[in-house]
Amino acid sequence: MAFDQGLSHRFEIKGGDFAKAGRVSLEVKEILHDLGIDPVIARRVAIVSYEAEMNVVMYATRGEMVLQLDPEAIRIVLEDEGPGIRDTEMAMREGYSTATEQMREMGFGAGMGLPNIKKNADRFELTSEVGKGTCCRIVIHLSPGGRA
């Protein structure tokens, strides 16, 4: 495959910029499409990257997403600067959300974002420091041993 040696892409995400929200995930989707990644895997990546991106748009000041590909896996690391998450265990619960009324009216804040990431990732690690920011590490396997 074209990424035998591994590939890495870096994207900047601006907090609060709803007009551009989803752009990074669309770019990720294009990259995976161009590399001929299995559409079933690409769809799982689209879900996790979108949810992770939206979390930055909704809650953080800024964030950076790094997409790494090697023959075994797709890895996404998203680090943001923002308020952080006080209770990551609670944040992972289906239905739990701290979204504002305005975000809810737009159809966000259903408390499904992080659970969606967990369901679609082979590995998902969430760490956060209150007042500093949050880090998401996501792995989706490409190999037959993965969940594809």
């Binding site: 989803g22 752009r23 995930s25 159809g107």
Partner: protein, 112 residues
């Protein structure tokens, strides 16, 4: 069934201009929650919603949806429609409620 046949069958109004009428529609998904659509809609589904802000375009593209049906006579702003055209996402309008258009689509497509 193609998008064109559904547009005609349900009397939907095209709000975007690009040609994607040959697109096969695999079913429908009705929801106003974007994460729900991300999690549960399937490729080729027609998404029925009252949401009209720009983010619906990215969701439809990311999920490879056949198009978006905006209900209750609502209309996305011009910027959203421009973006939908640029991303080749069909946006259709109806005066029907989400319940009614979902029922009519279900009747057309069967239990998909």
């Amino acid at each position: 069934m193609t998008l064109k046949e559904i547009v005609e069958g349900l009397g939907l109004r095209a709000l975007t201009t690009h040609e994607c009428e040959d697109r096969q529609v695999t079913g429908g998904y009705t929801s106003d929650l974007l994460s729900d659509v991300m999690a549960n809609a399937r490729p080729g589904n027609l998404w029925i919603t009252l949401q009209i802000h720009q983010n619906i375009v990215a969701v439809a593209r990311l999920k490879d949806l056949a198009g978006i049906v905006v209900v209750n006579g609502r209309r996305p702003d011009d910027e959203t429609l421009r973006r939908a055209d640029a991303e080749r996402v069909a946006v259709l309008g109806t005066e029907d409620s989400a319940f009614r258009v979902s029922g009519r689509l279900h009747r057309l497509l069967g239990d998909s």
